[in-house]
Symmetry: C2
Subunit: 404 residues, 2 copies
Amino acid sequence: MTTSTLPVPDFTARIAERARRMNASAIREILKITQEPDVISFAGGLPAPELFPIEDVRRATDAVLTRYGAAALQYSTTEGHLPLRRWIAGRAGIEPQNVQIVTGSQQGLDLLGKVLIDEGDVVLVESPTYLGALQSFQPYGPRYVQLPTDDHGIDVGALEAVLKAQPAKLLYAIPNFQNPTGRTLSLERRRRLVELTAQYGVLVIEDDPYGKLRFTGEELPGLYDLALEMAGDPEHSHVIYCSSFSKTLVPGLRDAWLQAATPIIGKVVQAKQGADLHTPTLNQMIVTELVDDVMPRQIEIVKRAYGERARDMVAKIGEHLPAGIHHTTPEGGMFLWVTLPEGIDTQPMLARAVVRKVAYVPGTPFFALGGGANTMRLSYSSATPEQIDTGLKALGETIREVLT
Amino acid sequence: MTTSTLPVPDFTARIAERARRMNASAIREILKITQEPDVISFAGGLPAPELFPIEDVRRATDAVLTRYGAAALQYSTTEGHLPLRRWIAGRAGIEPQNVQIVTGSQQGLDLLGKVLIDEGDVVLVESPTYLGALQSFQPYGPRYVQLPTDDHGIDVGALEAVLKAQPAKLLYAIPNFQNPTGRTLSLERRRRLVELTAQYGVLVIEDDPYGKLRFTGEELPGLYDLALEMAGDPEHSHVIYCSSFSKTLVPGLRDAWLQAATPIIGKVVQAKQGADLHTPTLNQMIVTELVDDVMPRQIEIVKRAYGERARDMVAKIGEHLPAGIHHTTPEGGMFLWVTLPEGIDTQPMLARAVVRKVAYVPGTPFFALGGGANTMRLSYSSATPEQIDTGLKALGETIREVLT
């Protein structure tokens, strides 16, 4: 037995091909730059922490530990805490067997990618789309096709042309107050999207973390609701629904869920067994304790606050940003999207913005196949009126500097 | 817009190839059969819930919510709660950058599979090995090679022959009180295993959920410790260490960790971003609150209880089971392994055992490539003396019935 130095391992050579396709999240790297304390950051997408129902979580934890005792801290089933699955199923008009609890929506997307995407499968995504979904799907080797969008979401005429041109496995969409644009898909387009994808045999993943946070306008049925209504049965629906308690309660408990036909749920259960056995037991019980009384109240509080902040930000864009700039006007959620004149690149501009003590996320990372150099995402969810005023003034100055 | 019925989707045709390789856990299906209330089950592998420090968890949650407020319920970093990473690193003699928090060891195994295993890569496993690891790795398409074992763990002579015969990517091993056998790898073999794998350029995943639960015999250095000592630096170690707070505190919080060189940790961070963003914030803070005072006390309580139960089970095997049966005598952990005479198949025998109100897990599912028809795993961790006596009497009768 020797204690001499071992050969130095060549780790790079041992990384799997799929992991070579992974990159550090562009946003994550940007957030690091912009986290200096005196920078006003519209870059993050964090729910407003000052609104969190901390005392309710404390009370719920206490109640759950008293009621369930050791069972709250023991291993539990992969499918999830049955009372929580029942509550979700009841609200959606489906059965608990159509509901799977996941550790954050992000895990829902990862498991769906694992279960559905073969190397080279065509996955249709909005242009732009949620960066985290691209990250979840990426290791499974999808071939992305970007769907053109406008202020009412996906262009369904263009969708039909894309479906005619090639077979696709999946369409991934965020119909309500999309991340990153804040746009909402119109009702007419929702119906057409559901019909077209059913007709062409394409499964749809509807990602809906913000749906309950509508602060203006009329609530619209989701893609899952429409497919359920048209198909008449959750077992015949080609739409898979993904949502979360992160924006309606708190994100740090990591409680979210999927709704789908049982052949999909069954495979997701098997994938989740290998991925993390189950979502933490205590956390699922805490959420169950809060959904009936605290969550509706919390949703009202959050909607009011985000609505005020969104209106404020839209007003200050008008006041402080130069003319000729396009922005979305969200009806809910946490984000809006700004399009600057062609020729401006928001990625190098970020350094100048940070010098002026303001930060945003450049738009390009949200495009699966690139583009959108002149776009940016702004989050208003955790900004004060002073930050919105000062930050947008600084952003306006930055843009004027680049334009001259 | 029509509301006619949509075409029924063909879900089976849309499941990805990797997901077709997934199966429902054999154990999970067995546990369903054996969960009738009057069956004495040695099948589960659950930590004893009557020992859980429920009041400590309540107090810790309270303290954490008071100290951190909203930050305990907000999104947090993918790498994990820094004070917890520091604590783990300090104990291991490494840096926090070598530590990644994961949502249960199971997630650690899944992320390592995702980051390291290319389709067709040779993965060396003990024969038998932990079923959950096989489930985690399976979607990534490994080619398993089974390493022969005896009562002192992996046969390192046979390992050398295997390494000479073919290039391998990974060796997965549980050196302490292995699941399912309860066996411990001897010190001499540990050293040889670390040297051989380093020499042949094979990465090692050391899975160590039970290491702190040694109730008899002398503590041995882990493979990670030995590699660190021999390599002199965590950045040069080819061993990746995986452990958990599930057996030393409680499993339901799903807190575990990996230790590895930074090129591995870096890729795991990227994979985890797509997999679940981060492990629940509150849960990591609760565990951090408990590691210094509660956990050492808890480990003593659990060791004492499991030690008594293991000795009791070994005694009752001698008393109630027919002669000619081999069993392991664990020095820690939660399981022991019984080998019946050749020709007996413990899978069909289980139905007879359940009729006699006792249950175990047949051994075959723990073999990556099959085998072990005459073996079974018994768990003593959550059994009372009465259950051990009555259950083993019933098991003895079942075996005698099959032997005649």
